[in-house]
């Protein structure tokens, strides 16, 4: 082959590579467009709205009010408190559950997973009202508890923080269990055998080997649950009985009752900002890329 022919080949190969890259990019174009239309554009619009005060004049009034008014601060504190407590409850319930499922033989694990996922596929509203039926003053729990003589007066389980936490923990549990179960399943059982062989009793093998290897999955679950909780609306609205007011509920009142889009938007923007801050902090602290990318929980 002549040198000229070689050059033509090289140019053609470069062209082929470019075309291939373009083709690959075009595959994700619809998704990118969708993200632009349903996320970027509305958020931008929201931000734009938040810059206008009640009189329709461009100002930062909506933001300054938030920092001056105690009620707004309290709402944000409540939101973070509820999210934190729900996440903690999910960890307490979810870790042993995921561990148990990860130990089961495949078929039983699938069945257990179904039990975790079945409520996940049921309507959020239905589940929330179901909890109301179970937890309210004359609900199942109180009826049975009193009939069995476990307690005298009905416990206050609904229309307050208790109900909110119970309901939210139930709704959020699968979001914690799924990534955690995945991480646990990826832990080669030979690690546990090696730990035992090297002299670790079951408890220290768990503490020194299994637990650290499952942490990336646990952190992934914690972050997902916590962030979802920050913007949660239906369950706290129904089970909180108006006593637990989270940011999302305040936004709803502002829009629905007072038609105050400016303040509502500002609340939304601040919540979004705080959520991003949480994610950023998690990223810095826990190296989120490793958490979300599956991390080192799997095989070396």
């Amino acid at each position: 082959m002549t040198a000229a022919a070689m050059d033509i080949n090289a140019a053609a190969l470069r062209r082929d590579e470019r075309r291939e890259k373009l083709a690959l990019f075009s595959l994700c174009a619809p998704a990118s467009l969708l993200v632009l239309v349903i996320i970027v554009a509305p958020v931008g619009w929201l931000f734009w709205l938040s810059l206008f005060n009640d009189a329709g004049v461009m100002s930062l009034d909506n933001y300054t009010r938030m920092f001056e008014s105690k009620s707004y601060t309290r709402i944000f504190i409540t939101t973070f408190q509820v999210s934190f407590l729900t996440t903690a409850l999910c960890v307490l319930l979810g870790y042993p559950l995921a561990y148990f499922l990860a130990q089961l033989p495949r078929r039983w694990a699938a069945l257990g997973m179904l039990a975790v996922l079945l409520p996940f596929w049921t309507s959020l509203l239905v589940r929330t009202y179901a909890w109301l039926v179970v937890l309210q003053r004359k609900g199942l729990v109180n009826q049975w508890g009193m009939e069995l003589g476990l307690w005298e007066a009905p416990l206050r389980l609904a229309h307050n923080l208790n109900g909110t936490l119970i309901g939210m923990a139930h709704i959020m549990l699968p979001f914690l269990v799924l990534p955690l179960y995945g991480a646990m399943k990826a832990i080669d059982f030979d690690y546990m055998k090696a730990a035992a062989n090297l002299g670790a009793n079951p408890v220290s093998a768990f503490r020194h080997v299994f637990l650290p290897l499952s942490l990336p999955g646990l952190f992934a679950g914690i972050i997902i649950v916590f962030v979802l909780c920050l913007g949660f609306f239906v369950t706290p609205a129904v089970l909180g009985g108006g006593k637990v007011i989270m940011v999302s509920m305040k936004i709803e009142t502002l829009v629905d009752l007072f038609f105050n889009f400016g303040t509502a938007s500002a609340l939304g923007v601040v919540l979004l900002g705080l959520t991003l801050l949480v994610l950023f902090a998690a990223h810095k602290l826990l190296q989120l890329d490793r958490v979300l990318g599956g991390g080192h929980g799997g095989n070396p």
């Binding site: 030979d190 055998k193 730990a195 035992a196 062989n197 670790a200 009793n201 079951p202 650290p212 070396p300």
Partner: protein
Amino acid sequence: MQRIDALPIHIRAVTKTYGAVYALDGVDLEVRSGEFLTLLGPSGSGKTTLLMVLAGFTRPDAGSLKFGDAEVIRMPPHRREVGMVFQNYALFPHLDVAANIGFPLKLRGIDKNDIHARVESALATVQLQGFGDRRIHQLSGGQKQRVALARAIIFEPRILLMDEPLSALDKKLREHMQIELRRLHEQLGMTTVYVTHDQREALTMSDRIAVINHGRLIQLDDPRAIYDHPADPFVANFIGESVLLPVEIIDGKPCYRGRPLQVAAGHARDDKTTPGALLMLRPERLVFMDDARADAAAYNRFDGVVGHAVYQGENFVTYITLDDGHEVAVRSVSRKQSLAAAPPPGSTVTLGLHRDETALIPGHTAAAGNNNNDAETNRGHKP
């Protein structure tokens, strides 16, 4: 690291069933103190199950297992104090090299400075000085292998178990590590039980080889005895290449196709007590007969027709179809003269097997046909 005071292992009638399948079928085995013993067998033979019983990861149905004088059959793995190198190394990915190696010492509550010193010494033993702060995923296969080994020996176990530790390495590195493991064993001297399905590895490394098949111990001997005097057709086929020819016993003398075979006194094991025997032909023991050979009379002769030949670099293998239809391989060293003297395909040749190298294997003549089929298939896998 210091020399380790080794312990013998006594395995008695250990049985393990999975449903109706016997993974281990009454295995009796004595591992001598300080020896390097290899459990060799095909996959599914039970060799790994036996190792797992030694480590305590598999609970047998019955039997007795003693380390020295102590019965350990019911002892949980974390109290057995045996080192183990896993097939996939099982190095903890969340710990660096030093923390992996120091792990057993940390569990034993040893002082931090002590751990550091001993980890350094263990790293030196496996020739990985300065690797302590590496992450596991930064290591090559051979380095992981060494770290796994260092971790298994740092707490000075008196027994070391290895489960096909070299199977993930490429051929060159594997052969290098075989020598190194052997050197380390000579240096430290702990009783070592090594599992492999690679017969060459077993021959290279072991003091003794225990051939396992169908959950049973078939033969326990040193490598040369295993290779030269296999106890049965399975061992003959599994270790090295061989073709087994049926032998009739006529007037108490072994004969092949009516011709008496010359057998060296020491080599004719059991041929008088067993009803039948098989003659083992190994490719490297066969020569092309040449009447100019001074000791031609000392050879048993087999006539056949030359088939195809395969050049393998250091060797070349010629396939010969004997008069009775058996195909045997002859392996010759690739020297210029021998290549030039190789008989052309289609020509008639006479093969010779020296009487000192003529080995009879106990086996029924009636079954010889079957065994021979096995031999054929076996050879077919590894020309």
